[in-house]
């Protein structure tokens, strides 16, 4: 039997997802109409012999997470449990801490996935690949362009055997254009390697005289501590995919990830895509509309638009490349482009809410979305406009390349600013 572990992080991680992460844990943020995590869970539930899904992270227990878990269990008919770390133990520390839970029942192998990636999840192919390569550990890789590869974990591959010869996390010089997708397939043997590192850490820290040394020893990073050690020892193999894959670090990448998943719905969930019908709004490209949304037939939506529950959209509204979260209201003639409109926000008549997309170069098949810094040369980098929860935009103003924190009532337009 098989298991899957999804690393969901905690509040201290994922600060690049603010202000959206103020309201909801990042793994629950809706991408293409459903929580980010649900795409992982759907993919796992499709794998035969998948017996259990474990979520490992350090979020305090919260209502949103619990509700999501119970709904998901019902819908996908598979046990899903949340294992809360007592502190941030990093990518290997968490699973090592819970190794007994992961290994209970005797799985022959288990997947580890980062919650903040968007992927087609070729899990069956990875299982097949693992069998062909002597049941070793598998890491999912994809190709990036030379310049961008250095923002990720880089994998040097033996082209004949697919063995990982060398692994470096975010090198400062070019190493390889094959990057780590944050999705792995391990056998239980991995815990021996992690255990060795754990003991080594303990010994090092004893020498250092730290008070909480025993705690810090448990902080183990898969990438820097485990993969670099396993490389070149015929233990770690890379399965390369050319299917879609993207990180979801910033709010802008949520819109890009939405586009990728919405496109996938043609194959996997065509019922989630809206279509053009008499008396309904005009739909262009891929659009997700929750059934409880109330949309005027003269509105024009898409491409790449997700509309959440209970959203109200007035006459003559135009939305493109945006995510409209639950309960928001867009009044007549307003225009929303490249933006995320927060829960219960209101956009006044004729207002224009616009951001700048940070999409990868469409001419480069290996280009990935840029993880731009918030500021460049002292100025705010033009990016997706984000309205936090319960933000009110008055009529007829323009909000351009701005980030508005929750519960703000604006009285004028803003450009290229963060509004606290």
């Amino acid at each position: 039997m098989l298991k899957a572990v999804i690393l969901i992080g905690g509040l201290q991680k994922g600060t690049r997802f603010r202000p959206l992460s103020f309201e909801v844990p990042k793994p629950l943020f809706p991408v293409a109409g459903v929580p980010m995590l649900q795409h992982h869970i759907e993919a796992c539930a499709k794998v035969p012999n998948m017996k259990e899904i474990l979520l490992v992270g350090f979020y305090q227990p919260n209502e949103a997470l619990s509700r999501f878990l119970s709904n998901a269990q019902q819908e996908f008919k598979i046990p899903i449990r949340y294992l809360q770390e007592y502190s941030a133990l990093s990518t290997a520390g968490g699973i090592y801490h819970f190794r007994d839970q992961i290994l209970s029942g005797g799985p022959v192998a288990f997947f580890i996935m980062n919650a903040d990636v968007c992927s087609e999840f070729p899990l069956l192919e990875m299982l097949e690949f693992q069998k062909e390569h002597g049941n070793t550990h598998v890491i999912l890789g994809t190709t990036a362009n030379r310049k961008q590869s250095m923002n990720y974990g880089c994998i040097v591959e033996n082209q004949d055997t697919n063995e990982v010869l060398h692994y470096v996390e975010k090198p400062s010089t070019f190493v390889s254009d094959i990057i780590n997708c944050g999705i792995y397939l391990f056998t239980p043997e991995i815990f021996e390697h992690i255990g060795l590192i754990f003991q080594k850490n303990q010994q090092d820290l004893l020498l250092e005289e730290q008070m909480n040394g025993w705690q810090r020893a448990e902080v183990i990073r898969l990438e820097q501590d485990i993969f670099t050690a396993l490389a070149g020892r015929e233990k770690l193999y890379v399965y390369k995919t050319d299917r879609f894959w993207s990180q979801i670090k910033s709010a802008g990448s949520a819109i890009y990830a939405s586009r990728l998943y919405l496109n996938q719905y043609h194959k996997t969930h065509p019922e989630r895509l809206a279509s053009n019908e008499e008396g309904r709004p005009t739909i262009r490209g891929n659009v997700y509309i929750h059934p409880t949304a109330n949309i005027d037939p003269t509105a024009v939506l898409g491409p790449n638009v997700s509309i959440g529950t209970g959203v109200t959209i007035g006459a003559g509204v135009r939305i493109r490349e945006s995510i409209i979260l639950h309960g928001a209201t867009l009044q007549d003639h307003s225009c929303v482009l490249n933006s995320i409109v927060g829960w219960d926000s209101t956009i006044g008549k004729w207002a224009r809410v616009e951001g700048t997309p940070s999409d990868p170069n469409p001419n480069d098949p290996y280009a990935k979305i840029d993880s731009e810094t918030l500021f460049r040369e002292g100025k705010l980098t033009p990016s997706i406009t984000i309205l936090g929860c319960n933000v009110n935009i008055p009529s007829e103003v323009i909000i351009l390349n701005a980030i508005v924190l929750p519960h703000k009532d604006l009285n004028r337009g803003f450009k290229n600013q963060i509004i606290l």
């Binding site: 006459a315 003559g316 135009r318 493109r320 007549d332 003639h333 225009c335 482009l337 008549k349 004729w350 224009r352 616009e354 007829e396 323009i398 351009l400 450009k415």
Partner: protein, 388 residues
């Protein structure tokens, strides 16, 4: 009586509009600028208007011919003697307008400044002893031509300048004059300390004898002629009542439009549109078509044959003849040129000016864009710039 209108320059400040149409023919509140002035002059008893033009005169002449139907004018050619003896005719054409007046073009071979045109038109201006008007073609106000005649005849000297009060006089040249009589003492350019808040409004009335002071060469009337006249006690100031604006550049064109529409609200309110969807002062040509759920105003002028689709919001704009604004767009402080097409969900603001026949694609944002004629705009312009 006669009037000389200094059309002169290249109209560069009102580009891109003046790249298609000579400035005097650009419609201000749905009527060519020139016609605002000429109609008021006619009411004051002027029967002959001379237009002093420089390099644009061929185009103006062609436009005047094309406008023949619209202005209701007849053209007859009359060659006049060339004062500099080069053998070429200079004052080209004489127009007979339906107003029953003559309009002549006086063509400067080289720009003659602000006084030279008077010398060029000397023959025409001195054929009787009546005073004559001189106007800057960019001026819009409640024209006080009848009052000017009375005032001028009352003091009996050679020249009267109309002055107007402004809030920031040190941006201009101010006029210092005696309050009671109006006799001008001196002019001060851009004064550092407060001297006076009255500036030259660009409208004068002169006795023909003033032409003895002016030679046919590039001359500035303000710098060379007026100071001497003031010293000799021959120059008087008449204060203008009501609004005044130099509409020679787009920002001021729009401000002047607001002032003019407000004055129309007082004088002929029936010309303005009221009712649901119309806020403040809105002037709409009867041939314009306005869609559902539009909100226009305050301070909007819509030209002939303009089409506004559903859900359009326009504030403080001039939309020139034949333009189309597609649905749900939002415009504030813009000038939309003739035959332009503005797409759906477009936002334009901050003195964006579209030249003739510009196409703006759907969903764009234009902030202070100055767009030359016949351009297609496919990308937003988030910060003010010129699009060639």
């Amino acid at each position: 009586m006669k009037a000389l209108i200094l059309v002169g320059g290249y109209g560069t400040r009102l580009r891109p509009l003046t790249l298609s149409v000579p400035k005097p023919l650009v419609e201000f509140c749905n009527k060519p600028i020139l016609l605002h002035q000429v109609e008021a002059l006619v009411k004051a008893g002027v029967d002959h208007v001379i237009l002093a033009v420089s390099y644009m005169s061929d185009l103006l002449e062609k436009e005047m011919k094309a406008q023949e139907q619209i202005l209701g004018i007849k053209i007859s050619l009359s060659h006049e003697k060339e004062p500099l003896g080069t053998g070429k005719s200079n004052a080209g054409l004489v127009f007979l307008s339906k107003l029953g007046i003559k309009i002549s073009l006086s063509h400067e071979k080289e720009p003659l400044g602000t006084a030279g045109p008077l010398a060029l038109a000397r023959e025409l201006l001195t054929d009787n002893s009546d005073p004559f008007f001189v106007l800057n073609s960019d001026v819009i106000c409640d024209f006080p031509f009848e009052d000017m005649v009375k005032f001028h005849q009352h003091h009996g000297k050679q020249g009267t300048i109309v002055v107007t009060k402004v809030e920031e006089p040190s941006k201009y040249g101010v006029v210092v004059y005696e309050g009671e009589s109006g006799r001008i003492h001196r002019f001060v350019e851009k004064p550092q300390v407060f001297v006076s808040n009255k500036i030259n409004a660009g409208m004068y009335i002169f006795s023909p004898s003033v032409l003895h002071r002016i030679q046919l060469r590039p001359t500035s009337i303000e710098k060379e002629i007026f100071p001497v006249m003031a010293q000799e006690g021959h120059l008087y100031a008449m204060e203008l009542q009501g609004f005044w604006m130099d509409i020679g550049q787009p920002k001021d064109f729009l401000t002047g439009m607001c002032m003019y529409l407000q004055s129309e609200r007082q004088r002929s309110p029936e010309r303005l549109r009221t009712g649901p969807g119309f806020l403040g002062n809105v002037l709409v040509d009867p041939t314009a078509r306005i869609g559902q759920n539009c909100t226009l105003g305050p301070n909007v002028t819509i030209g002939a044959g303009v089409v506004l689709e559903d859900g359009v919001r326009i504030k403080r704009c001039t939309v020139l003849k034949g333009a189309r604004v597609r649905s749900h767009s939002w415009l504030e402080s813009c000038i939309i040129g003739w035959s332009c097409s503005v797409g759906q969900w477009v936002r334009m603001e901050n003195v964006t000016v579209l030249g003739e026949d510009v196409i703006v694609n759907d969903e764009l944002y234009l902030n202070g864009a100055n767009v030359l004629p016949h351009k297609s705009i496919a990308e937003s312009v988030p910060e003010p710039r010129i699009i060639m």
